[in-house]
Structure formats: structure tokens, C-alpha cells
Amino acid sequence: MTTKRDNSEAAMAEYLNALLLEEETVEFDNEPVKRLLEQAAPKIQAVAEEETVSLNREQDLLPLVSAKADDSYQEPEVETVTEVETETVDLTTTETDIDTEVHTDTETEVETEVFEVSEPPAEPLPDAMSEYMEQDFQALFFKVAGLTLAVPLKSLGGIHQLGKISPLMGKPKWFRGIMTERDNKLQVVDTARWVMPEKCTPELEESLDYQYLITLNDSPWGLLCEELVTSEPLQPQSIQWRKESNNKRPWLAGVVRDRMCALLDVNALITLLDKGLGHIQQD
């Protein structure tokens, strides 16, 4: 008899494999994912408690969380990457017959006449992921709608407790608005809507309980998250890295095999957000 957790892991594995693979003609059975989301949405907290967190959450994560009242607060130091000898990693993957869903977002950029300040960068940011492919790095794991995502700590700008978000008219649904914090205007991304818009039913959206905003590098962009799970070191060989040919989801650096969770390519993500693009790039 399979347990609920087995089902969850199987569903997550299918979903993440589907994200990584680019075959066009095969079908993706998303039933397990649907079941998982149905289960996960009302029970996110319960599922989270089942997970073994290897590090003390308060000790490890709270220093990263900004303290609003503390003006002397400084960004956390996350330079904890240990240098190791590089080794050849076998990236051969077991390709299964899974299709990637076709997404038809037609979001286009709208020209707005604004003051001449802080124009988004036109060129994609340098690829920091190649560095992570060569040496161990520390990653933060967080949860959104039952989905665990990982992001390299070095690529984080900070973690902020959620404050008031001011929505702006005419923006895509995944853009929640702007959160002000210490003179900074943080641009808030509804992570669930951005990463898996096709799974965002009204019921799921209603169940989302965002608590933190994880800002990306030096950009104003931040991802909403429901729960900070843990931070732990990752080895390059523990990750199924994205194929070079995967241009459809440049934000997906790879999948952390043990945890079966997506590792985000922060710079690619920032570039997409700056362009106002959704999570899937059309060929």
C-alpha cells in the first residue's frame, strides 16, 4: 500500500521531470499532481511537519529574516560555499514519457511613459549557475502551495516578513504589487501563479498563506513563500542540471534529486521578470 507521502513524492517527481524534459509529442499524466495539490492545499502545514528538517529552523533562518524595526539591520552573510575539487558529474537522466504542458500566456510588454529612473537591464545577467555546477553551495528550501523550491543562498537578496502589498492596476495576476520596506520598493511575485499558473485554481489560491518575501540578488523582485523549510549545503552531483537546450524554462536550473524539488536559476528568473514574462517561453 502506498502512503500519501509516496504519492506526493511520485507526483512531485513527475512534475519536476516534466519541467526538465522538452519532448513535444509525449503526454504528461498530471493526475498525480492534481491529487497532490488537492491534498496539499488545505494541509500544507501538516505536510511540512512530516518533513525532517536537518537544521534548527530558528537558528538558521531567522537571522536571514529582516527585522523591520531594526534600522541597523544588515544583509546576512551567505558566503559559506566550501571549495571542493571539481569532478565530472554524470548528468544522464532517465527520460520518461512525459510531456510538458503547453502554456499560452500572451503577456506582452506595454510601453509606459515614466520618469527616467531604474530601467530594467536589457541584457541577461551573467550566468551564476555555472559556478554552482562546479562546487558545493548552500541553498534555501522554501514551500509554495505544497511545492518545494530551492534557491542558492548566495543568489538571495534577503528574506522579508510580509508587509502590506500595494497592487498596481493593469499588471499580470502573478505580479501582486509593491511592498515598501525601508525605502525599498520590493516587487512582489505570486510564486504559485508564476511557477504553475495552470495549477492555480481559485480554491488553491484561497488556501495560499504567504508569510515571507524572498528577494532575488540585488534586484527588487521577490518571491512569495508560505514556509521556509531549511537551508543546507548541496553538492553539484546531487542535482539533475537543466540541459543546455532547455530554453523553455530558463529559470529552472535543475532538480535536487534527494528532495525532488526545483532549483531556481535566480539570474535567469530576474531577467524573465524584468521582461514581464511568464514561466514558460514559447519556441
Partner: protein, 167 residues
């Protein structure tokens, strides 16, 4: 000085680089918006708005302002917000756009604030909707976000023409 210049340049500080602009702030749905003070003619308490049969949905109706007919825009609808009951705080802001004089109904009017140009940032350029064009910029004000609205872009040229025929 042309009207355009007046609208852009209210005051210049000592070094002449960082212009100071005045903005009338109003509230809609817990959010604070700002419009250039040079475009505001006056602020009225809510008075009966006479509906106009066949008017576009974004038009609430017309009012008589000292003998002049002024079209009042449903600002909430235009900004994609839910409609709400009129309260004692509701105001009709009479504005002079490039095209004509109109009124906009808002939940309340707050104050006039001074902002340096350097304190104004562009809004994220991720809009897909026409209404994204209304936003001229954003600014921090007492830890609150102030959304600066470009009134001239609140309506398209066709819509300006349409409401000019109502009044």
C-alpha cells in the same frame, strides 16, 4: 508657460536639478494615489450625479458645476477595482486634462505632498492591460506606497472624444 510645462514643473530646488512636484493624494481601496496638483481645479463633496443614458460604463454621469456640465468618471471601475458605496469621505476631484475638464470620484482626498523627481521611481514594466499606462510612477511616502497617476492616459483619445460629446 504652456499648460504642459506647468503640469510638469511646479517648482525647482536650489541646484535646479531635482524638481519638486506637488501631488494631490486620494484613496481608493486602501491604496493612495497621487495626481499632479496643476491638473486639479477643485475638490467637491459628493453631490448627486445624474446618469446619462447610453453613456459608456466608465462614466458615472454628469454634474452641474456652476452652470457647466462636467462628466464624472467611475475611477474605481477604471482602475479595475470593485465598486463601493459612497460615504461622507467620498469626493469628486475636478481635473483639467489635456483634453477637457472632468470629474473623478474617489473614496477620499488626503493631502498635498511634495516629491522630488528623484524620489519617484518607474513602476515595473510588466503590464499587459491598458490600465497599466495610467501609472506614471511610484514613490515611498511614510512607509506607504504612493502611486502617481497620469490622468491624461486614464482615457484613450477615442474615449476623451466620447465623453466630450456627453457634456
Amino acid at each position: 508657460m504652456s499648460k504642459d510645462n506647468r503640469a510638469i514643473k511646479n517648482e525647482t530646488d536650489v541646484d535646479g536639478n531635482d524638481e519638486v512636484l506637488q501631488w494631490v493624494t486620494f484613496q481608493l481601496e486602501q491604496e493612495t494615489y497621487g495626481i499632479n496638483v496643476m491638473q486639479v481645479q477643485e475638490v467637491l463633496r459628493y453631490s448627486e450625479i445624474a446618469p446619462v443614458p447610453g453613456a459608456p460604463s466608465y462614466v458615472l454621469g454628469i454634474i452641474n458645476l456652476r452652470g457647466n456640465v462636467v462628466t464624472v468618471i467611475d475611477t474605481r471601475l477604471r482602475f479595475g477595482l470593485q465598486t463601493t458605496e459612497v460615504t461622507d469621505n467620498s469626493r469628486i476631484v475636478i481635473i483639467e486634462s489635456e483634453q477637457q475638464v472632468i470629474g473623478i470620484l474617489v473614496d477620499s482626498v488626503a493631502e498635498v505632498v511634495y516629491l522630488k523627481t528623484s524620489e519617484i521611481d518607474s513602476a515595473p514594466n510588466v503590464g499587459t492591460d491598458e490600465s497599466a499606462r495610467f501609472i506614471q510612477g511610484v514613490s515611498n511616502r511614510d512607509d506607504e506606497l504612493l502611486i502617481l497617476v497620469d490622468l491624461d492616459k486614464m482615457l484613450t483619445d477615442e474615449e476623451w472624444d466620447e465623453i466630450s460629446r456627453l457634456s
